[in-house]
Structures are given as C-alpha cells and as structure tokens.
C-alpha cells in the first residue's frame, strides 16, 4: 500500500500506511518505541516546535472532563535548533518518514526554519500549525513563507475556522490540509476552582471534525489531500474519516489512554490486522495483539 498525502508536484510525501500520530501526542523522537511498532505507522508527526525556546505553561495543564480531557501545555520545546540536535539521530533510525510540526508563529520564523531544515534529509515534511485567531491574510503570509521551505507542506487548520481559512492556505501553497487542530475550550479545574483554557480531546470531538472534513472535501479541489484528525479512538473512527474523503488520519490522545490503539488503527487501515482465528479461545487472542504475537500463539497452539 502506498498513500500519497500531498498534492502532486514539488516534492511529495508517500506513506505506506495512512495513519500517523497527531502533533503533540508522541513527543519529538521515538518515545513510544517500547509500546508501538513504528514500522506499522505511516509517519511520525513531532511535537510542535518553535524557533525560540518555549517554556511550559504555568498553572493547570490538564483538566479531566466527562469522556475527555482539556490539555494546555504551552507547547514547551527547546527551540528548533536544539530539537534537531537532540533528535536527528533517532529520526534517521526510524523506519518511517518524520514530519516536523512547526508552530505558525511568524513569516520570518518560517524563513529561519527553512535555513535549518532545507538540507536535512531526516525530515520528510513540514506540518504547519495555525493559531486559532489567525485571519486569512495572516494565514496566507505565513503559509507562503512556509511553502518556500523545500519540503512537502501539510497545514493544520484550526477547528472553528477550517472552512474560512482553507482557500487562502491552499492559494499560499499548502500541499495538504490537516483537519483539524483540537478545538479550544474552557473548563473548571477542580483543585484551584479556576476556569482554564486549553484544547479539548475525547471521542465526542470526532463527529464534529468528521463533518468539517466532509464539508471541506466538497469545498476544496479533488487533488488536495485532506488528512482527518480529531477524536479518533478506534479503527472504525479512522475508517469514517476515510469514507468522508480523507486520504489519511492522525490519532490524538487515544494513544495516551490506550497506546496500542494507535498501532491497532494503523494495522487495520494498513491491512495488517491480526485476525482472530475462528476457533481461538478468548485468552488466545485480543485485538491489541500484533502479527508476531498472533503467529507465536498460533504456533504454540498447533504445537500443543
């Protein structure tokens, strides 16, 4: 299976599975290597990176919600230069393409980023994250600057403004749209009693973003790939995005709640699902089982 997740022309980004983790969920390098088989994934999207160092948000960073969570980390990162220094070797060893998520701060920053990234083969593409309150003109300028980088460019649209921003973002040279960033919300933190703002994650986000993907699919030209991202918690959720017109998907905080779910979704959409044998007993099979474990158990059973 080969999936092209960027527009034809310029450099293009080919994945062997249409499933990847969303920016901010699996770290900068290979933090999940003990829990997830990276070979089964289509690509890695790094945590968001900025040119300057960003410090963690002070105060509450996590609010548990019914059926979800609010997260506000402040996107801490040591700045692009150090992120590259610290991770380029790991990236080189990963069996899949690495896409660098750049927080969309300013056009000059994108230029600086280009200077650091252009010769760097271990980075297969850029995902640009747009701020929620950006307007169409700002988005055009920012994406144009990022499009000057010699890498395939995915642009992650904000939840509420995805439809409004898409045309400008495509005009400016985005090779694919990631729809969408997690919606912002506000919730009360139990311990401090204060209202805090952050991004909202949970299964109920999926029907909201799925509709946005379906509408955008009808709105933008057919050759523009859309990557669906929002509230995916099962292989069926991922398949719904594909049916609504996405070429690939990003799994977000489901990976935290159940790490094997990321791989399971990738195996399912990549055609690698470990199917339960008709006569397998319950404790000889579980859906998180990989091919290797399935084969071992199969062998053990036919042996015994």
């Amino acid at each position: 299976m080969v999936v092209e997740i960027t527009r034809p022309g310029k450099t293009s980004l080919l994945l062997s599975t249409p499933v990847m983790p969303a920016a901010g969920t699996v770290g900068f390098g290979d933090n999940y290597h003990r829990l997830v088989d990276y070979e089964k994934l289509g690509a890695i999207i790094t945590n968001p990176v900025t040119i300057e160092r960003w410090n963690p948000a002070s105060g509450t960073r996590l609010v548990p919600l019914p059926g979800g969570i609010l997260v506000h980390t402040g996107l801490p990162n040591p700045g692009l230069k150090r992120v590259i220094q610290q991770n380029r070797r790991v990236w080189g060893r990963l069996p899949i393409p690495v896409v660098l998520h750049l927080a969309g701060t300013s056009a000059p920053h994108m230029k600086q980023a280009g200077e650091m990234i252009d010769g760097l083969d271990v980075i297969a593409g850029i995902e640009l994250g747009l701020n929620d309150d950006i307007d169409e003109g700002e988005a055009f300028a920012l994406v144009s600057a990022a499009a000057a980088i010699e890498k395939p460019l995915l642009v992650r649209l904000p939840f509420y403004e995805a439809g409004h921003l898409a045309p400008a973002v495509l005009d400016a040279g985005a090779d694919a749209l990631v729809v969408s960033a997690a919606p912002r919300g506000t919730a009360r933190e139990e311990h401090t009693g204060r209202l805090v703002s952050g991004r909202i994650y949970g299964p109920l986000v999926k029907p909201l973003v799925l509709r946005i993907v379906g509408r955008l699919r009808r709105q933008v030209p057919e050759e523009v790939p859309i990557i669906g991202a929002g509230g995916i918690h099962s292989p069926l959720d991922a398949r719904d995005y594909i049916e609504a017109g996405a070429v690939a998907v990003q799994v977000d905080t489901a990976t935290w709640a159940q790490p094997k779910m990321l791989e399971r979704i990738a195996r399912d959409l990549g055609g690698w699902i470990a199917t339960r044998r008709k006569d397998a007993l319950m404790d000889e099979w579980h859906p998180d089982m990989g091919q290797t474990e399935a084969a071992q158990r199969g062998a053990a059973q036919s042996g015994g």
């Binding site: 979800g68 969570i69 997260v71 980390t73 319950m282 579980h286 859906p287």
Partner: protein
C-alpha cells in the same frame, strides 16, 4: 515499560477507608522498585475500553510485591472493585527512589495526601534496620495507620504543620521524602521547605526529595503535561521522577 493485561486476584480491606487489591500481573512488573508506578485502567472481557470516563488511566504506586506475579496496590475502600476484573497496566513508570548508602534514619512526610505512594519502601528499609518516622500533615492526618508495620513511628503534625521534636527529627534524618496531594503541589512543597529551612541551617543537596503523583497522560515523556522546572532545566515526572531534589526544583507558580 510495557503495556500488559492483569486482573484482580484478591481484595482485602486493610482499614476503615482503604482496601488492597492483589493484582496478578505480567512478570515484567515484579521487579518494580519503590518509587515506580503503573498506569491502570479497567478493561472488559473482550479487552476493549467500554467507556471513556475516566478518560485517562489512574496512577498506582504499588505498596508491596508478593511474588513474581502479584503486586499489591492500596485504593480507597469507597471505590468498588470485583475480583476477576481485567486491567490494562502500563509500566513500570519512573525511576526508583535513590536512598543513601548508609541510611540510618529516614523521614517520610505526607501532606494532604494518603501516604500510600511511600509505603513500598518500608519492608526493605526495616529489613536494613533503618528507623522510619512518618509525619502526616493536613488531611493526611485522617489516614488510619493501623495496618502499617509497627516499627514505624507515626507523628501527626499540628495545624501549623509543626510537630513535637521537629528540630530533632529533621536534624537526625539522613533523608526526607515529602509526598503532597494534587491540589496545591508546588505550594505544599514550598510550605515544607520553609519549615525545614527555618529549623535547619543548611539544607544540603540529596537530602530532601519531593514526590509527585500527578495524573500522567502519556507516561513516556511525550505529552509534557508533567513537566517541572529545576536548576538543571526541564524535568518530567514520568521519566525523571517521581522524586526530585527539592533544593533544585522551582517551586514558585
């Protein structure tokens, strides 16, 4: 760190408010050391999550390892569990507590939290003839200690957090571990540090450790929700913790 399945083998009530769950676990968890934890969630017979509430896993610090495949956790008695309940466990998480080579006297402080996360170290300490004092502060005073080993000296702090013979206890201790609740973590650590600095001229490095028990979304250093700031740069509870030298941690905020 592995993602393994386990089940509740046995449930014992140990005090008015707490029960202990004996978990039959993958043997990779039987070498866990004091300070390490697992992230747990209930799953159903078909190994699926039935509902996403609570969304994240609970952080459990074992209190005891019974044998190569039974670990014991202590949870509120008010929560109902059934023997046979399947669990998904992620672990071990974090670094073991580091004890001084010649540890004679250790001081444990639990402030606004049950001392559960400190209990796992007790058998080894007592076996090595260390003497253990446990100070309960704030809401920790409600914790019934009847089921803890008799050799431990239990002290209940006053409302102003002081206790009898405080200067002596602090001077005497080779090492201090402070555990705080989730509501005012950094502020509570700062309270304790103020107390200690008032009573001791110098607070050396590697003397007093703060133990964090934040809810950990990813536990693998990916999400940065558990990030702390210290004199040595950013630290992650899930990777570098749960214990940090309180003299180097930034406790403002």
């Amino acid at each position: 760190m592995k993602d393994t399945q386990a089940y509740i083998e046995r449930i014992r009530r140990v005090s008015r408010d707490y029960q202990r769950l004996e978990l039959a676990v993958d043997k990779s968890l039987s070498s866990m050391l004091a300070g390490q934890a697992v992230l747990a969630r209930r799953i159903e017979k078909d190994y699926e999550i039935q509902h996403w509430n609570p969304y994240l896993r609970e952080l459990w610090f074992p209190v005891e390892i019974l044998n190569s495949n039974i670990i014991v956790v202590e949870v509120p008695a008010a929560k109902s569990y059934q023997p046979g309940q399947l669990l998904s466990l992620l672990g071990p998480i974090g670094k073991p507590f580091k004890f001084r080579r010649k540890l004679r006297n250790i001081l444990l402080i639990a402030y606004d939290t049950p001392p559960t996360s400190l209990l796992m170290m007790l058998p080894a300490l007592l076996a090595n003839d260390a003497s253990v004092t446990m100070v309960l502060m704030g809401t920790a005073c409600q914790y019934d200690t009847g089921h803890l080993p008799e050799e431990i000296e239990i002290v209940h702090a006053e409302e102003d957090l002081s206790w009898q013979d405080m200067v002596m206890t602090l001077g005497w201790a080779d090492q201090v571990f402070v555990l705080v609740g989730p509501s005012k973590e950094l502020a509570n650590f700062a309270d304790v540090m103020r107390l200690v600095r008032e009573r001791r001229n110098d607070v050396p490095a590697n003397y007093i450790f703060g133990v964090f028990q934040r809810q950990l979304p990813c536990a693998v250093g990916a999400c940065y929700v558990c990030m702390l700031r210290s004199n040595d740069g950013s630290k992650l509870q899930c990777v570098d913790g749960p214990a940090f030298d309180l003299t180097s941690l930034h406790l403002e905020n």
